[in-house]
């Protein structure tokens, strides 16, 4: 079961951070909550910080999957989990780009 976890964890982490960022964006843009109290620049700062945290988590996971302690003993699972870790890291960076480029509550 650990091998299944190694294979499923990287993209599941992407999905969790992707959904979390979208939820944070929803909260920051909600007229009832943060938007009233948070200026636009502060909102962008929070979103950017959260996106950087997501990228950092993916890098940490990738390093863990490469390590002797957490990496898979089986060659196939090791290669595939590292590939998936890399895909998840690229996906996190790619899907976070709009945070830096687009007005978040317009």
């Amino acid at each position: 079961m650990r091998d299944i976890l190694r294979l499923s964890l990287p993209l599941t982490l992407w999905l969790a951070t992707f959904s979390g960022l979208y939820a944070l964006h929803g909260l920051l843009c909600s007229s009832r909550f943060a938007q009233a109290a948070t200026p636009d620049e502060a909102g962008r700062f929070l979103l950017t910080a959260a996106a950087l945290l997501a990228v950092a988590l993916q890098v940490a996971l990738l390093l863990a999957l490469r390590s002797g302690r957490w990496g898979a003993p089986s060659g196939f699972v090791r290669r595939t989990s590292l590939t998936l870790g890399l895909i998840a890291l690229v996906a996190t960076i790619w899907t976070s780009l709009p945070i830096a480029a687009v007005s978040h509550c317009l």
Binding site: M1, Y22, H25, G26, T80, I99, L106
Partner: protein, 841 residues
Amino acid sequence: MGWLPGGGRAVTKKATALRLHRALTRIWASDPGWRGWLTTVNHTDLGRMFLTVAIFHFCVAGILAMLIRAQLASPRSAFMGPDVYNQVFTMHGTLMMFLFAIPLFEGLAVYLLPKMLGTRDLAFPRLTAYGFWCYVFGGSMMIFALLAGIAPNAGWFMYPPLSSTLGSPGINSDFWLIGITFVEISAISAAVEITVTVLRYRAPGMRLSQMPIFAWYALVTAVMILTGFPPLILGSILLELERAFGMPFFQVADGGDALLWQHLFWLFGHPEVYIIFLPAAAAISTIVPVMARTTLMGYGWIVAAAISLGVLSFGLWVHHMFTTGIPHMGLAYFSAASTLVAVPTAVQIFAWIGTMWKGRPEMHLPMLWIIAFFATFVIGGLTGVMVAVVPFDWQAHDTYFIVAHLHYVLIGGFVFPMLAALYYWLPHFIGRRRFFRLGETAFWLIFTGFHGTFFLLHLAGLLGMRRRIPSYEPGQGWEVINIIASVSGFLMAIGFALVLIDIVANALVAVRGSRDPWRAGTLEWAMPTPAAAYNFASLPRVASREPLYAEPDLAVRIARGDGYLGDASRGRRETLVVDVATGRPEHLVVFPGNTALPIVMAAVTGGLFLGMLIKAYWLVPISILGVMALAIRWVWTLGAVADEGEIPVGHGLALKPAPEVERPPGWWGTLFLFVANATFFGSLLFGYAFLFTIAPNWPPPAWAQPGIPGFALLALGAVAAAAGPRLARARLAASGPLAGLALTIAGAAALLGAAALTVIGLPDPSRHAFDATVWVLAAYAALHAALAGLMAAILWARVRKGFIAPTRRGDLNILGLWADYAAGAALIALLAAWLPGVLAG
């Protein structure tokens, strides 16, 4: 005379194989005659039954498609009125998506997986049968609605307020919400079944890296069903609660929001596209190497691509909602994710092209269908990237461009590969060699008919033709396109009819075929066809991804009992459970025999849904009691009252039976059921947060205020429920598990009390969406607490009957999962309900 001893040995071995075959057939065969259809739990029978019923639904939905094309063939058509047309297009989409595509995958997986994995049946044979009968009864509800003229008519994605009582006051939408939820029991059952089977029920020695690629795809698809369907089940329940009891989840005036339905629907709906595509990709990845006389190029890359596609598809749902007015960053965010998904799709396409390049493709009929897939799906994929771009989507949304795009993806990406699969495995299904060659004619009719129907509809969409319109005015440039589409649509229909005739004719009168007509390497071809009920006379030891290429005489050795469990003397339906990663045999499983329990339980479950549908609410508690009684009977037959110890399974290996291991198959099934359950709960919390944050007309008139008794009951209940099974396990050898079970029951009762206090404070769930949501959260907590308490009570009875002992504690571990989940769910659900009240003081 040198041949005599060898010849004698061969005769003896043949006789041994025949004796083994007869003994295993006696043990595994379904009941004779018509009764066999109702009581079978065998995956080969049920796979064929699933496939047949799915194809029946495809035919019905196909006839509806022809009615649509007849209506749209000319402007100002009076062939159908708008009311009938609305029912026809809604049912066409609904039948194709829910009653054809997913069940066809289930049927194929149910039939093939145990054979490909080298085992004798799926993990839970009675669950397979229960799922099948839920599918049949739920599908019958929908077909009845169609025949009675009261079918759903709000489009296959049922957006409120059109589908709520404001837009659809009749029973039509109820049929959809209740019928489809009933059918989804089948999808969840099959997904649990497939997940546990792929992970645990494989041939000894079959490592993860040696699994057939079909099994990887089936695993990813099954996990996607477990996580993709619950949001829709939740949405259907909420909308039905609104329709039946006025709980305003989607009514803006009372704190609801119609957009919540769109979120829940597309949280399911977009992964659904990949749930449909991945089985097709599984068939392609299996068939292409065989047709090209080579092995699959980039196995590891394809596994990674399938997993990537499965997960990434959950981050795309908002791209169906680009025109709903969400902020620009949200649009760009989901647009980025939508373009990303093209990458793993392309990896698979290039791996298949590379495989063909590496080998020497033979143009048999399955290969023709795969070429048609490439030509069609790539167009659908590229138009998919176009609609992922927000400004283009704003223009094309809800036009015939989208209709054309989705048919290119679904017919090109699912129906064509499934036709390839049908013809590839036809010799296996029917045990005959294809003789009549209608299939080739049908291929050209369908292929040209399909492109004739849908290619120009892209243009109709760009010219402004909106989807779902029952008629149109002349002079808009749509007439020629529509008449071509309609004529081509009928050509395609003739082609599908020919496929059906071809298959029936070959099944009835073609000559008997050989065992491995395609010279494939996977294990499903290591058996005589049609397959025996037990699949393998003995279980092979596998050390390669294509075992039949590695060991050409493997089929013969399996048949004569040289593998594991090649001895039928115990007279039971036995197979092996292996370690997930290495395929090392871990324990022995004894399957249940033929029984009518699944069909009876599905019928009683149907009573529950029927009661809600026709508003005969007295039927609902009766059905729930019936299901509970049958469920108790179901679990009562599992387990053992005495230890068997280690049992020889062949090759000098002896293993314990499942009741004597810590984590029996039921534990694994429960674990994956909770994956679906937790997704349902997560979707409910998302819906709550969405309404709380976005919906107009908040705050509600009052918050939930449970007071100190509520908090005390929740805290004590959660601790007791979680501690109970642990205490039962710890004291099992010393004083027995009854004190632990009593603690679990007490904890469950306290949790029920906390849930009851929550709703007592908000007596009218129709007042505001907050009240309605709190009721659902409390009901969820109460249901799980009740189930944990009931299970502890059943285990109490099982302890007294001797099912549980220090060496047989698997049941307690399963109870532990339930109790932990019930405690956790109650804590989260009730605290979420109470928190706003606490913060508001």
